[in-house]
């Protein structure tokens, strides 16, 4: 969009899982960018590849999963082919990660202050006293009351919402330029969820941090993200500005997905539903992966795989938007 190059660039990413029964394609030709200060939401059903995309970016794909093709660039430099030790230095300092379950992210044997200080001293040359001072500052910033006292508490002494705040502080404390947040509010109650989302949003704005927000909760996306990528069966089905994707989706899958969200403001007799289920990775249909469930599918959909094509304000991987053949439908 602007002249400045994006902070994160993912190009034609392909992730494979070799198994005894053949190679499974977990991610197939996934490309997107995130600019500084921008929040990209990644949505989709379980198994669509959202978490896998995040894991590939932070270099924590679980073996035997591996990047088979494509590249990931942070600030113009490739990070997908780095050695483990080099990647470890980038993680934390340049890329922060927030995971779904705050209990398993924190080490139960260390106080939260020790964990924050460790992260900071690993990535920058500061004294322990300075690290402690900054740790209190971070806990204060994420909204933990009486931070100076709570810093010596262990994770189990915090409630779920407070623990997730600690995890956020931990991801932020080395001041990374990109944060990969995988379902950061899914384990929390709505009232706490709102607090955490408000916090993440204001931090991204203030510090100019880029964020990839992975979630299946469309409400969270609608109020947090600038752009949204919708994933289906390891591919991006549609990507575009949040308002256009949520309100005037182009891809039939996005339309179906948005339609199946129960509305809060009225009662409907029957919710719109997409029949069937997402294909397993071992049985992805030929052509467009969505074609067997798609109400608008035509001949070409079961033959050729669509690329992302301009569709109104968004880009959709759907043959409906290939100008010259649309007439055949």
């Amino acid at each position: 969009m602007s002249a400045q190059s994006p902070l994160l660039e993912v190009r034609h990413l392909r992730v494979e899982f070799p198994t005894r029964r053949g190679t499974l394609l977990a991610l197939d030709d996934v490309s997107f960018t995130i600019s500084a200060g921008e929040v990209l939401g990644v949505v989709g059903e379980s198994g669509a590849g959202k978490t896998m995309t995040g894991a590939a970016i932070i270099g924590l794909l679980e073996p035997p999963g591996r990047i088979a093709a494509g590249e990931i660039c942070l600030d113009g430099k490739r990070i997908d082919n780095l050695r483990y030790e080099d990647m470890r230095r980038i993680r934390g300092k340049h890329i922060g990660a927030i995971f779904q379950d705050p209990l398993t992210t924190l080490n139960p044997l260390y106080t939260v202050g020790q964990q924050l200080a460790e992260t900071m001293t690993t990535h920058s040359p500061i004294t322990p006293a300075e690290a402690r001072k900054r740790a209190i500052g971070w806990l204060d910033l994420v909204g933990i009351p009486a931070a100076a006292q709570r810093i010596d508490s262990y994770p189990h002494e915090f409630s779920g919402g407070m623990r997730q705040r600690v995890v956020i502080a931990l991801a932020l404390c080395a001041e990374p330029r990109l944060i990969v947040a995988d379902e950061p509010t899914t384990a929390l109650d709505v009232s706490i969820q709102a607090q955490i989302i408000t916090l993440l949003k204001s931090l991204a704005r203030e510090k100019g941090t880029a964020m990839m927000l992975v979630t299946h909760d469309m409400g969270v996306i609608a109020e947090t993200a600038d752009r949204v990528a919708v994933m289906y069966a390891g591919r991006i089905a549609e990507i575009g500005p949040v308002r256009n994707v949520v309100k005037q989706a182009s891809h039939p899958y996005t339309v179906g997905l948005m339609g199946s969200i129960p509305p809060l403001d009225r009662r409907v007799e029957r919710l719109a539903q997409i029949d069937g289920a997402m294909p397993r990775l071992s049985a992805i249909p030929k052509g467009c992966a969505y074609n067997p469930r798609c109400p608008k599918a035509f001949a070409r959909c079961s033959q050729d795989r669509p690329e992302l094509l301009p569709a109104g304000a968004t880009q959709a991987a759907c043959w409906l938007y290939a100008g010259e053949v649309a007439g055949n439908g």
Binding site: E45, S46, S159, G161, M162, D189, V190, S191, I192, Q193, A194, Q195, I197, T198, H216, D217, M218, G219, V220, A222, E223, V242, R243, V246, K247, G256, L257, S260, I261, P262, P263, L264, D265, R266, R267, V268, E269, R270, L271, A272, Q273, I274, D275, A277, M278
Partner: protein, 331 residues
């Protein structure tokens, strides 16, 4: 219809003793610690309708679900099933057959070593409903078709199915004893939205076809709006507000209900900012004095700290709030 309600709770309570062992208590000189998961609630579910309970985690909604099917005995008050005491009713298998439960996690609630047809047939065999194998198998096929699965799926094992399909199997199992009353504890919260829509549609369809009565437990207000006739909003073991579904959404009265609705993300992007509820749900072991919501409540006054509010009629709803009773709410 002046029918007996399918389920009625009268001041029902369930306490859990979470004290440390007696010797440690003695040495630390501390008393018993009692967790009041459900602390005196009353409601009735008329036949053929859906009553939903909503609230955040720890509010006691799942404990009510377990009280309703007799998995827990009440520590106080009574639970009545179709006009009889539940404990007494459950002594007879003919009564037990009439109630079934659907659980939240379809991965944990199906035995992985059993074929689907055996899972579904288990209640039929346990209650001795059908005499011979052939009749049982025919019934399993009928149930599978009813919940939108293929008759051939009966030969498979649970791991061969997705989460949504497993929840369909749970529903088929629950329906196999021809129940009239189903307790559904977060039946769709482990599922993706598109699958959730399928399951909710199926449940509504089955209700209108078979006249089922549902007690529906959920934390998702939008889901609850789609399925309920009546809604109880729970907070820390008590009911804060009880109202007909449409009335609750058109005019939420209790400050907690209002806070819950305002905390929901705005999908229409009208620019409405979410107003987060400050603070967190307090511990049910040491609940706040007076109204349990007062530390988080914008309308709290001195009386709220001292005196526990009772459910009082307000319009077509029942609300437990001093501020509303005194007209201090400026709604």
């Amino acid at each position: 219809m002046a029918d007996t309600p399918m389920l009625e709770l009268r001041d029902a309570a369930r306490y859990f003793d979470v004290s440390r062992p007696a010797l440690q208590r003695l040495m630390a000189n501390e008393g018993k610690r009692i967790l009041r998961a459900v602390d005196g609630i009353s409601f009735a579910v008329p036949k053929g309708t859906t009553l939903s309970l909503v609230g955040e985690s720890g509010c006691g909604k799942s404990t009510v679900a377990r009280l309703a099917v007799g998995l827990y005995r009440p520590s106080g008050g009574r639970v009545m099933f179709d006009g009889r005491d539940l404990a007494e009713a459950r002594a007879a298998s003919e009564q037990r057959r009439r109630m079934q439960m659907i659980f939240q996690d379809p991965y944990a609630s199906l035995n992985p070593r059993w074929r689907v047809r055996d899972i579904i047939a288990e209640p039929i065999r346990a209650f001795g409903l059908l005499p011979n194998r052939a009749a049982q198998e025919a019934r399993v096929v009928e149930l599978l078709t009813q919940v939108g699965l293929s008759p051939l799926d009966g030969n498979k094992f649970p791991h061969e199915f997705s989460g949504g399909q497993r929840q369909r199997i749970s529903i088929a199992r629950a329906l196999s004893s021809n129940p009239e009353f189903l307790v559904c504890d977060e039946p769709t919260s482990a599922l993706d939205v598109s699958v959730q829509a399928q399951i909710l549609n199926l449940m509504k369809e089955l209700q209108s076809r078979m006249g089922l009565t549902y007690l529906f437990i959920s934390h998702n207000l939008a889901v609850v709006r789609q399925v309920s006739d009546r809604i109880g909003v729970m907070y820390l073991g008590r009911i804060a507000e009880f109202a007909p579904a449409e009335s609750l959404f058109r005019r939420p009265r209790h400050p907690y209900t209002r806070a819950l609705m305002e905390a929901i993300p705005d999908l229409d992007m009208t620019g409405r900012t979410r107003i987060p509820v400050g603070g967190e749900v307090p511990s049910p072991i040491t609940p706040p004095s007076g109204c349990a919501f007062h530390p988080r409540c914008p309308l709290a006054g001195p009386r709220c700290k001292a005196e526990h509010p009772e459910l009082k009629p307000a319009g077509d709803a029942m609300v437990a709030c001093h501020a509303i009773e005194e007209g201090r709410d400026a709604a």
